[in-house]
C-alpha cells in the first residue's frame, strides 16, 4: 500500500498521548452528540435550559429507544445474513474487549457451567458436554464492529433457538439476558435469539474456541453489531424485564441490528 505523501516521515511520538491525556479523555462520541443536540435545542427550543445535562440525556435516550423500536420492527427473523467461503476466514480472528488482551481471564472448562433462569421450564445448568451433544451448526459470517472494522469468521455450535426449546423457554418473553465471566452482560430480543444464525458458539474455524475469543461458549449472531456477541457466557435468563448490557449502560444502542 502506498504511503501518503503528506504523512510525516517520523510518526508522532507516543509521549504526545501522555502529555495530553486529560484532553483526550474529555473527548467522546457522546460528547459530540450532546454538543450537537444542545446546539439544535438552542435554536429550536428557546427557553429550554440546554445546560441541563439530565434533560439532554433524557432526550437522547428517548431517541435511542425509538431507534431500537424501529430496528426491532424492521427485523426479519427469517432473513439470513450473507455467508462467505472458508478461504475468507480470518485466522486468528480479531480480538476486542473493553480491556487489553493482557487482562483476559481464561475460563476453566472443567468447572464451567451455563446457568439458566427466568421464564424456562428446566433450570438445570449446562456443561460443555451437554451443549456439544446438541445439533451443531457452522456459519461463516461477517463480524462488524461499531468501531468501523470487520472480518469474516467461521463459528460453530448449537443454535440458541434449539437451546431455548430444550430448556422449555417461554418464547413469548421479550428478552434474553446474558452474563459472562468478564462482567460483560448483554441482552437481546427474542426474535434475534431465535434467528437460525444465532449460535452458542463453541468453535472458531472448526477448532475449539481459544481463550481470548470466549472459551468455552460465546454468543455469536449474524444479525447484530459486534459488541452484542458476548464472550465467556455464564448464564442466560429469559425475561420480560429489560436489562441493559455493558455498552447500553454507557449510552450505546440496545437493539443494534445489522
Amino acid at each position: 500500500m502506498m504511503m501518503s505523501l503528506f504523512r510525516p516521515a517520523s510518526p508522532p511520538d507516543l509521549a504526545i498521548l501522555d502529555n495530553h491525556r486529560p484532553l483526550i479523555r474529555s473527548l467522546s462520541r457522546r460528547g459530540l452528540f450532546r454538543g450537537t443536540f444542545s446546539l439544535g435545542a438552542l435554536v429550536a427550543l428557546t427557553g429550554c435550559d440546554v445546560s441541563n445535562d439530565a434533560s439532554v440525556q433524557s432526550a437522547l435516550r428517548a431517541v435511542s429507544a425509538w431507534n431500537d423500536k424501529v430496528q426491532a420492527w424492521l427485523f426479519d427473523p427469517k432473513k439470513l445474513a450473507p455467508t462467505y467461503p472458508a478461504s475468507m476466514v480470518q485466522k486468528p480472528p480479531r480480538f476486542n474487549a473493553y480491556y487489553d488482551i493482557e487482562h483476559v481471564k481464561p475460563v476453566d472448562g472443567r468447572d464451567w457451567k451455563l446457568e439458566v433462569s427466568g421464564r424456562v421450564a428446566d433450570r438445570s445448568p449446562w456443561t460443555i458436554e451437554r451443549l456439544a451433544a446438541l445439533p451443531q451448526y457452522d456459519e461463516i459470517i461477517q463480524h462488524i464492529c461499531t468501531e468501523g472494522w470487520s472480518y469474516i469468521g467461521e463459528w460453530s455450535g448449537p443454535r440458541l433457538s434449539d437451546f431455548l426449546d430444550r430448556v422449555g423457554a417461554d418464547t413469548r418473553a421479550r428478552y434474553l439476558y446474558f452474563t459472562t465471566a468478564d462482567d460483560y452482560p448483554t441482552s437481546i430480543d427474542m426474535p434475534s435469539a431465535r434467528h437460525p444464525q444465532t449460535l452458542l458458539a463453541m468453535t472458531y474455524a472448526r477448532q475449539t474456541l481459544a481463550d481470548p475469543f470466549g472459551y468455552p461458549v460465546r454468543l455469536r449472531t449474524s444479525t447484530k453489531i459486534g459488541y452484542k456477541n458476548a464472550k465467556w457466557l455464564t448464564s442466560i435468563e429469559v425475561t420480560n424485564e429489560y436489562k441493559p448490557g455493558y455498552w447500553e449502560k454507557r449510552g450505546f444502542n440496545w437493539f443494534n441490528g445489522l
Partner: protein, 137 residues
Amino acid sequence: MVQRALILALLLLAGTAHGEDVSALQAARFPQPVRVGLLPGRDVLQPIEPQPILGHVAAIVRQDGKLLFVINRGGFLGFGATPVAVPVSDVALLGQYVALMGVTPKEFARLPRFNPSGAAPVPPDTTIEVGIVRPFH
C-alpha cells in the same frame, strides 16, 4: 490469569522490555497460531489511535535460532524500502494487520538494514504463534 497479570506487572515494574523477559510479555498476549504464508504484505501499524502504517511484512525468517519478522520500512510504490528485522515477540496480530508493540517509531526508524546472512526463510505452510492485541481506538 493471576500468573499472567503478575508476570506483566513484574515486567513493567522492572522496566524490562527486551531479552528473555520479552517472551513472558508475549505470552501475556495469548499467542495464536497463524500460517506464515498469510503474513507477507500485511501492514505494520504503530499502536496508537490513528494506527499509522510503519511498513509492511516482507518475510518471516529464522536467524541465529530466533524467529524474526522482516519488515519493509519506508519506500514508495514498493521501491526503495529498507528491510529491517524485529523478533516475533515485538509484534502482535490485529486481525489482518500486524502491530509493532516492542519498538517505538524512533527505534524502528533507526533499526539497521536487515542482513540476510545466515537467515532461513520460514516455509509458507509453517504455523507459528504470534501474540494478539485489541484495536488502538
